[in-house]
């Protein structure tokens, strides 16, 4: 499957219908610059992504974007954090091997001296009930959106 990104780049990925469970008691933490380029991440981020540390550093966060995620969710995320506010929601992430994992994500802007210098995203184990509620909702949103460019994050 070909994924198109907002910056004009694209890549071909293999999608596997296999869920990797979120590890108990962990947090996945990452930071990006204002463009969504990864600057810091913890071991749980590396482990769950399936990529190596070297492969991740400097990549745009959108490499985790799963094609089942509607654009509107990411637009809402970016609109919220760029205004200096906190965003939270359920996200299906794509692993390097094409499998996926669900997270409950909270993203906040890193504000230093009154200016947004980047974003921190912390992901934790989601409620299965909430995921089951959101799957059909995202599918509906996606169907309405049709095919077009994907945003980042």
């Amino acid at each position: 499957m070909k994924l198109n990104y907002y910056d004009g780049t694209d890549r071909v990925v293999t999608i596997i219908d296999q869920e990797i469970p979120f590890p108990d008691g962990r947090l996945i933490v990452s930071r990006t610059d204002t463009k969504g380029v990864l600057t810091h991440y913890n071991q749980s981020f590396i482990d769950m992504s399936g990529y190596s540390n070297e492969e991740l550093m400097g990549q745009n966060h959108y490499i985790l974007r799963h094609p089942d995620m509607p654009r509107a969710a990411f637009k809402d995320l970016w609109d919220t954090v760029q205004q200096g506010n906190k965003w939270h929601g359920y996200v299906k992430n794509l692993r390097k091997d094409g499998s996926y994992y669900w997270v409950y994500a909270v993203v906040i802007p890193n504000i230093r001296k009154g200016k947004i210098v980047g974003y921190t995203s912390v992901r934790r184990k989601p409620s299965r009930k909430k995921i089951n509620e959101i799957i059909p909702l995202y599918a509906q949103m996606l169907a309405k959106e049709g095919e077009s460019l994907c945003p980042t994050f």
Binding site: G25, I108, N110, T120, K125, S127
Partner: protein, 246 residues
Amino acid sequence: MPYVLSVSPDFTPKHIAGWYVFNTWLQRQTELAFHLELYDSFSQQREAIAEDKIDLIYANPYDAAMLVREKGFVALAAPLSKADETIIACHQQAPIENIEALQQGLKIVTTDDPDVHLMGMMMLEPADLNANNTDIQQMDSYVLVAKQLLQHNADIGFFLKDAYYDLSHLIRNELKVLMTSEIFIIRHILLAGPKLQPYHQQLQSLLMNMQHDSKGADVLKAMGLTGWEQQTQEDTEFMIDLMDTL
């Protein structure tokens, strides 16, 4: 008037003496007068912070935002390789095997330790449990949390990992760990207030060398620490951001 040193009330009881020894060590090293003031609860300590009665504090990460952003404190150091982790435990014989099996109406015993409580509640989210559909009781200590579990007065309890392993073998044998957090990056920090500003560099330098000095290493051991590492302003800002996401 001596400068006032305080310690987050969640320190383990067996290290109280260690903090008094640290206070004495600090006075000898700096030739400044320090007085160690300990508080029984976080609310009492926060009142003292609000009244500007504290100058140096080994603070719970939950309080870092308020200390840095509202009171002008600056991080001097963080304990070396020592993160705050949370354990969720139940009675050994309780028919609970995993978090997702927990049901609404769950009786939780906790303390006023803010980061442990926050992490504990976060670990219950996969079971759709929150403050609105559980019964939460706050105890004055982790020993009392354990007691409530042993007496079957509650279903699960939240413990600071260090405090859990400070419980006697006898008590722990009657308990069962359901989950341990592995977050690694939430930790206490030593923060200095505005009145100590002229001495920040001196204090930082002393702390960084503490583990390399035999007397300093003994003091650290008494406090249950192995050393200090530098905590930059950005490290602190990042931890504040992180706590804000929880």
